[in-house]
């Protein structure tokens, strides 16, 4: 029996021990915002927060998240309103196809919580763990810097 809190909501499920956290989120909980690209930790699409720290959901078994707090992209908006980071992505055209975006947003959530005023180099270093095949990195960085400014202004 797995007991895990996802985006503030507790779930108790019986899962096979071989199921990855990413597959559990998508198939068992229906949270398909977490995307799967490479399934070996390189592309970053499946990045979620586990215990507040970013982790590849494809490199964890669901059973390893037992008792933990997991945050996914679905937890960012509240009552249908985008949060500041998401709004910056919207305003600055920080996505094209959007496949990599959920993972990118979770990494930036961690980065901006640790460092309210990151340099562009620090943003790029954090984003080096994500592949964007639309080659939209420039606007992703612009959106991240914009979000940092918004959050500081709050």
């Amino acid at each position: 029996m797995l007991s895990v809190t996802v985006n503030g909501r507790r779930h108790e499920r019986t899962v096979e021990s071989r199921i990855s956290l990413a597959d559990f989120l998508r198939h068992d909980l229906g949270l398909t915002g977490t995307h799967l690209g490479c399934e070996h930790g390189v592309c970053g699409a499946c990045t979620v927060l586990v215990g507040g720290r970013t982790a590849r959901a494809c490199l964890m078994l669901a059973v390893q998240s037992d008792g933990q707090d997991v945050s996914t992209v679905e937890g960012l908006a509240s009552d249908g309103a985008l949060n500041a980071l998401q709004q910056s992505f919207w305003d600055q055209h920080g996505l094209q196809c959007g496949f990599c975006t959920p993972g990118v947003l979770m990494t930036l959530t961690e980065l901006l919580r640790e460092n309210a005023a990151p340099t562009e180099a620090q943003v790029r270093d954090a984003l080096s763990g994500h592949l964007c095949r639309c080659t939209g990195y420039h606007n992703i960085v612009v959106a991240a810097m914009d979000a940092a400014e918004r959050l500081r202004g709050k």
């Binding site: 021990s17 970053g44 720290r53 970013t54 590849r56 494809c58 964890m60 078994l61 270093d125 763990g129």
Partner: protein, 247 residues
């Protein structure tokens, strides 16, 4: 986990050490820094003690994967996996770290030189696990550098060079030079160390030492032939030595 996802490994049982809190620590002890096998790479990266006493490890760990993988990746995991081009095994060879291992009957201590047997192959028996790594810090003011060549930041390096150097009265009192990704396991280049030991570290002597690496037996694969790794070995050695010298 990538090996499971790729079906390269299909073990009958997997034992998860992630919750063994007693295996995650960084402590200064008499003569060495002890790092628990399950210490997260990210915690090593942000450790003041590591930055102060093991700056080579602090520099190298920033090149291991990405922050999202360093949050869960552990130093013991990297050592047990022993990828020939991985950064942490190269650092362990550079320090000739001690690896503490144990099974249910008791423990033993291995020098890194005896622990690393071949690509993805260690001296661990099937019932043993790594509990701790011990690094002997070099004295304050020593030079250090970790340089690597990877096609993209955070990718597995093709090759890397790690160096520790202690200068006293203008001469090299002690030196450690290690290449990762060149041989089947990270290798100390003793011939290059010999050229510099007790000598003045001039640019000419550094170039001479780097040239020792031109004929090392090197791995080859479809992307990178052996001669390419040999050229990288020379260039990375020179860069590491020049960077490690006090500026």
């Amino acid at each position: 986990m990538p090996m499971l996802n790729f079906r390269v490994a299909s073990p009958a049982h997997v034992v998860d050490l992630n919750r063994v809190a007693g295996l995650a620590y960084i402590n200064e002890e008499a003569g060495h820094i002890a790092i628990g096998a399950m210490t997260r790479q990210r915690d090593i990266e942000t450790s003041d003690l590591v930055a102060r006493r093991l700056p080579l490890l602090a520099a190298a760990i920033r090149l291991v994967g990405h922050r999202q993988t360093r949050n869960r990746g552990t130093i013991g995991g990297s050592l047990a996996h022993l990828d020939p081009s991985a950064e942490l095994p190269a650092v362990a060879v550079a320090f000739d770290a001690e690896i503490q291992v144990r099974n249910q009957d008791g423990g033993r201590s291995l020098r890194m030189a005896d622990f690393a047997k071949g690509p993805l192959t260690t001296a661990l028996t099937s019932d043993e696990l790594i509990t701790e790594l011990r690094f002997r810090p070099w004295s304050e003011g020593h030079g250090h550098a970790f340089v690597e060549f990877a096609r993209r930041h955070g990718d597995f390096a093709v090759a890397s060079a790690a160096t520790l150097i202690l200068i006293s009265n203008g001469r090299v009192e002690n030196i450690s030079l290690t290449l990762g990704g060149v041989g089947p396991v990270p290798i100390r280049v003793l011939a290059a160390e010999k050229i510099l030991r007790n000598a003045e570290p001039t640019l000419a002597r550094i170039a001479e030492a780097a040239n020792c690496c031109a004929n090392l037996e090197a791995l080859q694969d479809p992307l990178y032939p052996a001669w390419y790794r040999q050229k990288l070995a020379v260039t990375l050695t020179r860069r590491a030595l020049e960077k490690a010298l006090p500026r």
